[in-house]
Each structure stands twice: as structure tokens, then as C-alpha cells.
């Protein structure tokens, strides 16, 4: 048995991590590119911003279910994503991904291209340049992307309900628990849970802002 709050934090935390890792890689590949492949990839990544989460969840259910080749393969290697909390992580990662890609890509594109050019004439590989120059200078965008991703993942409801279901103690995240309480007419629980989610979100946002200001003091001088 996991409390809805802990489950929500765990799902949102892992989803943020996965979205950051894959989002940074995607943003790096897409930055300053305008080929057809880049545009289609960009549109696909951004689809979750446009589609209703239920549609997204349905796609995931079809894609990852035992009837699909991918689902069957995953099952054969012992990974079961349908009606598990891991499935909720997949759903939250996908809805959070465009937010990470969007803000990271903008931050990467804002880094002076001359820096990259000079670094190339100094013999450094593109990967080394990305790690030592681009990422450190784009960290504000990464932080913003991470915050947005976490917020979106924490509030994720529709796609999660579709793929992970509503199994108390196993896949019931806080937003789903609130929905459940309201459906059951248990207003006291709904109030308590809504308040809990709100307070948690405020605490996290304040904490991150404080952290970014601590780091930001140094960065302002870096950029002068």
C-alpha cells in the first residue's frame, strides 16, 4: 500500500527525470534545425499539448497492451506497464516531455553560436561542447523545463487513469484519489486530499524558486 501523495510524488519525480534526460537530448537534436524530419519530430513531441489526455492514454493502452507487438515484447521481458504505477510514469513522462523540450530548446538556441564555433576551432567534439558550454549556459531553461514537467506530471489525470487505472494503494495517484472521493460523495476526504496536493505544490514551487535564486546570484555575474 502506497499513499496517493507518495505515489504521486514518486511518479512525478521519475517522470520529470525521464522527461529531462530524453527532453534535453531531443532539444539538442532539434535546436536550430528546420529539416522535414526535425519538424515532424517536433510536432510529434508536442502532440500531448494538443491532444486530450484521454486520447493519449488510449493510445498508450493500445500501444503497450498485451495485444500489441510492443506490449507483448515488454511482457516477455517482464515489464508490465498496463494498470501498474510504472505505466503512470510513462503517461506522465509523455505529457511532460514537450514542456521540457520547448524550454530547453529555447535556452539552447539562446546560447551565442559563436561560443560553439570557437570551441570547435579549439578542437573539441560536438558532444564535449554541448556538455561543457551549451548545457551550463542553458541551465535556467533546464530548470524551468524541469519545474513545468514536475508540475504537469503531478497534476496528470486523464492519461494516467487510462493506462494505470485506479487501484487504491497501487496506481491511485492523488488527483485520481480526489476524483474517486468526489465520485463516492466523500467530501471530507476530497477536501483533505485537494489541500494536501495544493500545499505540496506550493512548497515545491517555493523551494525551487529559492534554489534557483541561490544559483542565480552566481549566474547573473557569469552573464555580465
Amino acid at each position: 500500500m502506497v499513499s496517493p501523495l507518495l505515489l504521486s510524488l514518486r511518479v512525478a519525480g521519475l517522470a520529470t527525470l525521464f522527461a529531462l534526460v530524453s527532453g534535453i537530448a531531443l532539444a539538442a537534436l532539434l535546436a536550430r534545425r528546420h529539416s522535414a524530419v526535425a519538424n515532424i519530430t517536433d510536432a510529434t513531441v508536442n502532440l500531448p499539448l494538443v491532444l486530450p489526455p484521454t486520447v493519449l492514454g488510449y493510445y498508450l493502452l493500445v500501444l503497450l497492451g498485451a495485444q500489441s507487438p510492443l506490449g507483448a515484447w515488454l511482457e516477455s521481458i517482464g515489464i508490465d506497464l498496463v494498470f501498474t504505477w510504472q505505466g503512470a510514469v510513462v503517461a506522465a513522462t509523455i505529457v511532460a516531455l514537450p514542456l521540457v523540450v520547448g524550454s530547453t530548446r529555447a535556452a539552447i538556441e539562446a546560447v551565442d553560436p559563436d561560443l560553439r564555433d570557437v570551441a570547435r576551432t579549439l578542437g573539441r567534439s560536438d558532444f564535449a561542447i554541448f556538455m561543457t558550454i551549451v548545457l551550463p549556459l542553458a541551465w535556467r531553461g533546464l530548470l524551468a523545463g524541469g519545474m513545468l514537467a514536475f508540475a504537469r506530471a503531478l497534476g496528470e489525470f486523464g492519461a494516467t487513469l487510462m493506462i494505470a487505472g485506479n487501484i487504491p494503494g497501487r496506481t491511485q495517484t492523488l488527483p485520481i484519489a480526489i476524483y474517486d472521493s468526489v465520485q463516492a460523495g466523500d467530501q471530507a476526504s476530497a477536501n483533505r486530499q485537494a489541500l494536501l496536493l495544493t500545499v505540496t505544490a506550493i512548497a515545491l514551487l517555493v523551494g525551487i524558486r529559492y534554489l534557483s535564486r541561490l544559483l542565480g546570484g552566481r549566474s547573473v555575474r557569469d552573464r555580465s
Binding site: 564555433d117 570557437v118 570551441a119 576551432t121 558550454i133 555575474r221 552573464r223
Partner: protein
């Protein structure tokens, strides 16, 4: 002339611009000079390997670094050409020492530390190694960028407008330093500028770029004093271009008709009568005779002052004569002494030595 270490001849076509320069350099200080939009920065970026030309050949110390036909195109990482872009592009989040060490990833730690220490000392940056680029002056930033490029012991150095971000008073000193660094490292240095004064102060070799093409290249004084085309003449400050016709010539002198006036020009070589001549004259080499004193002047003619543009220590004047405007530069004291005022007529005079015959009048 020094033996050529570097030779470039390439063509790069962009939707709205065509770049096709051709030049060579020895281990010397060369200046790539031209107006904005002439293609100077793009040329540097192409040499550094950051832009790929459509065709041509670039060679450095006998090694082909680009060949359009053989499809050789060395990456910027492999060219060993140092590049200092405009505004230096220092890494703002790294210290001065880390900036300098950035290209030394493939040498041992002790070697890296030694080279960084040596360059910090050489560039008089020793106490600033732990500072960030944003915390040091423009001149120190410039020296940091230079040190960073030199740390890898490049075979050539490219610099794009290196003095643009430096205070005027410091420039003369920094130019001297740069000349000394070029001598110490003994590599070709190609520096881009659009400032004539800077080009003159630095260049051993002057390469003049106009609309993507090298219009003249050679020894600084040769290009400066003997521009080959009207375009180069104007870029070199010979802003008065006169069209005349030869009426007689001897070994030492040329006589020509310039509209209503006759000019004597000190020019070696014989020319046929009736040949058209294009002449270049610097604004500072036109003499304004004091009122009523026009005896014994060479090549004198009346002209009317139409414009006076004070420029600090100088005045840039425009005189109208012979259906043409002539630019004349005089110092402020001389201007006051002459008691000039617009619409006044004065006698102007051209020294036969001060008139340059532009050979390729395009």
C-alpha cells in the same frame, strides 16, 4: 616577400551574396580590409572551417585543408587555425584560466598547467586567472581570447575586428602587442578590420576585399599609395577621383586635360595623347591658397566652398569646381587662418607628386 605559408582561393554562393576571394600569406601580419558587407567575416569563418565553400582550394603549410574537387574538407577541430571572433566569444561561465585551457584537452595535465601559466604571464593576465570574463576589462578579454586561441599552438591565427570592443586610448598599445605576438609565434595572422587607420597601423600585407572579391593585395604601402582601381583608391582614402585625358607625356611627367584645367602629373612612363586617365587625390593633399596669393602654384584652379564639416581637429571641406565636388581636409588652425566661409571662391592647387594615376579604371 616572405614565402607563402597559406593560400586560399574559393567560391561560396549564398542566396544574396557571392564570395570568391583569392590570396596568399606568409608568416606575417596581414589585414583583410573592406567596407561592411564586403565578406570579410565570412571569409574568416570559411578559412576556420565553420562555413563550407562550394569549390576551391585552401592550403596551409603545404597541407590541403579544403579541396572542392577531391572533397577534402577538414573539420575546424583538425585545421589548427586559431579563431578569435568579433566580441571574442569567451565562455562566460568559465574562469579566464579555464577559457585559456579549453583547447588543451588532449595534452597532459602538467603540460596544460604549464601552457596556461605561460600564456597568463605572456598576456599580463596572471592575477586574473580565477576571474570570469565579465569581471575583466575589454583589453583583458581580448588578450584572453588571443591566449585561448594560441594555447593550442595553431599554424595560423584569424581575428575578426579584435579592437572593436576596446577603448580608443588602449588600441595603439594593443596593436603593438599584437605585432609582437605575431613575431614571437611566427605564424600568419589574418586580421579583419573596416578601419583604415587600423589597417595601416597593423598590416605588413594588406588584402582589400570588395563585394566578395580581393581587388588588391600586397605590401601595405604599395596598396595604400598605389591603389590599382578607383574602388581601392576610395577605400584607401583617395576619395577624389578625377577623369582626365592625356595631352602629352615625357619620362618624368604627364600633362592632362581635366575639364577646363590642365594638370601636370609626376608619373613615370609614356602614354599616348588622347588616352583617358583616372586620377586619385587624397583630401589632405589638396592645397588651399590664402586669399589673393596664387603665384607660383602648380596645377591651380578656382573652386567654390560648398560645405564645411568640422570633425574635431580637422575640417572636411567640399569645393565645387569643374562640375565636380572635391573633398579637401585641413586642420582646424589652418582652417581658421584661411578665414574660409561657404560660397567663397579660393584657389586650390595640386602637387604633381600628389596625383596618383589609377591604372585599372574599371
Amino acid at each position: 616577400m616572405t614565402e607563402a605559408n597559406f593560400r586560399a582561393s574559393f567560391r561560396l554562393e549564398l542566396p544574396d551574396f557571392k564570395l570568391a576571394p583569392e590570396f596568399e600569406l606568409g608568416a606575417e601580419m596581414a589585414v583583410l580590409f573592406g567596407a561592411s558587407g564586403a565578406g570579410k567575416s565570412l571569409t574568416l569563418r570559411t578559412l576556420a572551417g565553420l562555413v563550407k565553400p562550394d569549390e576551391g582550394m585552401i592550403r596551409l603549410n603545404g597541407q590541403v585543408i579544403f579541396d572542392g574537387e577531391d572533397e577534402i574538407d577538414l573539420a575546424p577541430q583538425d585545421r589548427r587555425i586559431g579563431y578569435v571572433p568579433q566580441h571574442y566569444a569567451l565562455f562566460p561561465h568559465q574562469t579566464i584560466a579555464k577559457n585559456i585551457a579549453f583547447g588543451l584537452h588532449d595534452v597532459s595535465n602538467s603540460e596544460r598547467d604549464a601552457r596556461v601559466a605561460e600564456l597568463l604571464a605572456r598576456m599580463r593576465l596572471e592575477p586574473l586567472g580565477d576571474r570570469k570574463p565579465g569581471e575583466v576589462s575589454g583589453g583583458q578579454q581580448q588578450r584572453t581570447a588571443l591566449a585561448r586561441a594560441l594555447a593550442r599552438r595553431p599554424n595560423m591565427l584569424l581575428m575578426d575586428e579584435p579592437f572593436a570592443a576596446v577603448e580608443e586610448d588602449l588600441r595603439a598599445h594593443l596593436r603593438q602587442e599584437l605585432l609582437k605576438i605575431q613575431k614571437d609565434f611566427g605564424i600568419p595572422v589574418l586580421l579583419v578590420t573596416h578601419s583604415r587607420a587600423e589597417a595601416y597601423a597593423l598590416a605588413e600585407r594588406l588584402i582589400v576585399l570588395s563585394e566578395g572579391k580581393v581587388v588588391q593585395s600586397g605590401d601595405r604601402d604599395d596598396v595604400f599609395r598605389r591603389p590599382r582601381t578607383p574602388t581601392v583608391a576610395r577605400l584607401m582614402g583617395m576619395t577624389n577621383i578625377l577623369q582626365a585625358t592625356v595631352i602629352g607625356s615625357s619620362e618624368a611627367e604627364l600633362t592632362a586635360d581635366w575639364g577646363a584645367y590642365r594638370l601636370t602629373i609626376a608619373s613615370p612612363g609614356l602614354r599616348a595623347s588622347g588616352d583617358p586617365l583616372t586620377l586619385g587625390v587624397r583630401p589632405e593633399e589638396i592645397y588651399i591658397a590664402p586669399n589673393g596669393d596664387d603665384q607660383g602654384l602648380d596645377n591651380h584652379f578656382p573652386a567654390r566652398l560648398v560645405k564645411d564639416e568640422p570633425q574635431g581637429a580637422d575640417h572636411l571641406l567640399q569645393f565645387e569646381t569643374n562640375n565636380q565636388l572635391l573633398n579637401v581636409r585641413v586642420s582646424h588652425p589652418a582652417f581658421m587662418k584661411l578665414e574660409l566661409a561657404t560660397d567663397q571662391e579660393r584657389m586650390l592647387s595640386l602637387d604633381p607628386e600628389a596625383i596618383h594615376v589609377v591604372p585599372d579604371a574599371a
